[in-house]
Symmetry: C2
């Protein structure tokens, strides 16, 4: 549950304490009432903190959601860069891509509403997250490896990531009622086809 201080200089003690209080309050309220039903006011109050403190610390709603996801996202990032195959290095590109997509779906499934919140608040939040850039680069390298220099790996990576947007995933799961395994299978099918020369 801890988050690394983004500070260039050490964080003041009260600031660190408040950050932790806010994260705990947010996590509790989200779990109790559902992410969408909890206002920023409510979180500030539950954390015993002024509203401005909450916003100063996390920027906006998306930033707070992202902070709560931080640990999980960081885990996935570590696994894909340094973990065992097929997620980590060593397996063929196609297998690595399918494994990556599967892992991302697991994360999405476990925290759908939080991911949606992290991508929704200001328009375009998804693409500003830094995390997105990491995922994009990963997929781009795999596409380039499998397809060779003829393909536009950069653009294809963007397209392959599009269905993994929180809102789209939620649509498939909730409105369309598709089971997780079916979604994974379709994504894997698309990914494998996209990687063929």
């Amino acid at each position: 549950m801890s988050t690394r201080p983004p500070a260039p200089r050490a964080e003041r003690a009260d600031a660190a304490r408040n950050r932790e209080r806010i994260l705990q309050a947010a996590e509790r309220l989200f779990a109790e009432r559902g992410v969408e039903a909890v206002s920023m006011d409510a979180i500030a109050e539950a954390a015993g903190v002024g509203k401005a403190t909450l916003f100063r610390r996390f920027g906006d709603r998306a930033g707070l959601a992202l902070a709560l996801l931080d640990a999980r996202e960081r885990d996935l990032q570590g696994l894909m860069l340094r973990g065992d195959p097929p997620l980590g290095p060593g397996a063929p590109a196609e297998e690595r891509l399918v494994a990556f997509i599967g892992a991302l779906v697991d994360l999405l499934e476990a925290h759908t509403d939080l991911v949606v919140a992290s991508e929704t608040a200001p328009p375009g939040a998804r693409y500003r997250s830094g995390l997105y850039a990491t995922y994009h680069m990963h997929v781009r390298l795999l596409v380039a490896e499998a397809r060779g220099p003829g393909a536009d790996a950069d653009a294809l990576a963007e397209l392959l990531l599009a269905p993994l947007a929180g809102e789209h995933y939620r649509h498939l799961r909730r409105e369309r009622g598709m089971p997780v395994e079916r979604i994974k299978a379709a994504l894997a099918d698309l990914a494998r086809h996209a990687l063929r020369r």
Copy 2:
């Protein structure tokens, strides 16, 4: 620029007049200041109408944007159902899909911010639009035709439409700075690969 009345019964004269005033005011303000910079209050005032009237007529911000897009979307729908090949019936599935994607990109390019607005306002607006359902069915039939009964055409169609979400398209164009033709080419590449058996 006209929109068909959604009324089961004929619309009262003042209601029709106000609808038209609102659409014109919205179109003018959007063009003058940019979609994102225009508030619903401003539109109501410019139209000489109470705010409630605006919301009663169009539901929410997304609904208003959708009404402004209505004519164009309707055109596209007509062309893909009854137009000449390759967009309309008669061409092979792969060519029809590429043509459809190209046409949708043209629409997206011409009205990016309006499309984003039509998909953004309430979470999940994109998938409630009825229009989305039409596009989905179209793509699904083409996928089924090309891939045969073995593939999950329903799910694949959802995945192929994901990169055509307004926000994603805007990301590619504005943040990433990709030219329209490059986006079309990558989408066509992905579509063709996805349709291969």
